[in-house]
Amino acid sequence: MDGSQPDPPAGPFTGFPAASATVGGAWQPPGSFGTAGRGPRLLSGGGRRATAISSASTLVVLGALVAVFLVAPGSSQVRHVFFNPTDMWQSFIGNPRKGYYSVGEAIWLNIRMFLAAEVLILGLALFIALIRQSVSPVLFPFRVLSLIYVDFFRGVPLLLVLLAIGFGVPALRLPVVSTQSAAIYGVAALVLSYSAYVSEVYRAGLNSVHRSQTAAARSLGLSQSTTLRYVILPQAVRNIIPPLLNDFISLQKDTALVSTLGAIEANGAAQIYSSTVFNYSSYTVAAILFLILTIPLARLTDRLIDRDRRRRLAGAAA
């Protein structure tokens, strides 16, 4: 906020959301990281009347959707095939003697793949972004390579990357590299593909930090790498947390694609159940488990975006 005056705004013409007075409680100066000035929220406390209206409207809309589902000609078949409680429970707990695995247990593989991929993506993507942002003539060939990398993996569908690595690398019959599990190849494919996207997010974050910050740090005698590490990156990362989390929500879901390589993760376990018992309720279980994983992250992302928006508003008002 170069050149801005951070004195608290006094009047009502500050662009500072008026809701801060009612929702956030005590007034806080803008630019703080406090709780003042919430924007419109999904579950807003807009008074008793507003709550009543929104509850009624929700009931009507949901009721209509349920009614359409229930009166549809194929309703009972769909309910039997997709929402059969017995099948849902059976697929959830699994029964190896009858030839199918527990979907509830298999989701742990998704979680493990997700966590491993996330850490690797954060590292690899940052590395690629820094190379693309570099200016040194020595690094020119690496800049070209990273550009090709990003273009390639953003352009090729993840499923094809998965198949190429999951079936191509074992076929090479190399020692160690060709004898890994499907989950490892799956993680490798996810990391390659997502790093291309996330490196672009990093790049946007690095560009969002004003050049004067670099000038200020370098003028103090800090080296380029120290400037990057302590001044530029912390600000860049803070600016990109919401889009980063967005990518990770879709990464969580995309771990399901690893089932194409034969890994028994939630989707794979559901598939095995459905082809053994001829009932699709196992997929519903898998879907519910994925929702339980992704919804908290989605809500967290919303909250961070909201916080970010308030900070920008406060900055503009200051």
């Binding site: 050149g3 004067s212 103090l220």
Partner: protein
């Protein structure tokens, strides 16, 4: 380079501090500095005045090596810092610069802002760096702000922190680039007081400013810049009352007409 701070310390207490000869700087086709010659003695305070775009800021940024120059040379105590093979980071430790827009690090507390460079560039241990930072903050009335983040401070406070941050590197020269231009009028005085104290302590300073009254009070010499050249270089009493060059006269007439002198 000799000396741990990159500059010969014995020489740093006397003689010519800065020597600029034939300095030229262009941004693309736009030549901003068109041959600057300037000599600054140790402990001397020089103010640079001139219209916006006359090259004052660019000159200061060149002295701090933030801008690569196109021609000419800059020496500090006889050592050329624009030569090849000079470690810019070492040079910058002995020349502090403060910007119009403060440029504090927004994600760090005041104390952290001040201690970052001593710790990461000089390798000062954290307790020592913090002790020194507190001493400096106390000297400029900011001790109670050490835990605040920049966005909770007034513009004047932010600018004083920026000055303290530069001083924490123990520079022998301070460059001030229109440090009061972004401030509300009532906050200007507190920053000018800090600069006066620095001048009284013997700091060698080059100050680009629009505060003519301040320049008249504090500077030993005032340089008037226009179109990338130093048009007139004289003690303030002379330059403000009897400017020799017609362009200086014209500039000062406009300043007086605007009620700023």
């Amino acid at each position: 380079m000799p000396g741990e701070a990159g500059m010969p310390d014995a020489a740093a207490t006397s003689g010519t501090a800065i020597e600029v000869t034939g300095l030229r700087k262009a941004f693309g086709a736009n030549e901003v500095l068109r041959g600057i010659d300037l000599e600054v003695s140790t402990h001397e305070v020089i103010c640079l005045i001139g219209a916006s775009g006359s090259g004052k800021s660019t000159l200061l940024r060149c002295l701090n090596l933030l801008e690569p120059i196109n021609a000419g040379r800059i020496s500090l105590w006889g050592q050329e810092i624009t030569a090849a093979g000079i470690d810019q980071n070492l040079v910058r430790r002995s020349i502090g610069i403060v910007f119009q827009s403060y440029n504090l690090f927004p994600h760090m507390s005041v104390l952290h802002n001040v201690t970052l460079a001593p710790r990461k560039a000089l390798g000062t241990p954290r307790p020592a760096a913090e002790e020194e930072a507190r001493a400096l903050l106390g000297r400029f009335g900011l001790l109670d702000k050490e835990a605040e983040f920049p966005d909770r401070l007034s513009g004047g406070q932010q600018q004083r922190v920026a000055i303290v941050r530069a001083l924490a590197m123990r520079p022998q020269i301070m460059l001030l680039d229109e440090v009061t231009s972004a401030l509300d009028p009532e906050l200007v005085a507190e920053v000018l007081d800090v600069i006066r104290e620095l001048a009284a302590s013997g700091m060698t300073m080059l100050i680009a400013t629009h505060e003519m009254g301040f320049a008249r009070d504090i500077a030993r010499r005032v340089c008037f810049l226009e179109e990338g050249r130093i048009i007139e270089d004289a003690p303030p009493a002379e330059l403000f009352t009897a400017p020799k060059d017609e362009r200086t006269q014209r500039f000062l007439r406009r300043i007086i007409a605007a009620g700023r002198l």
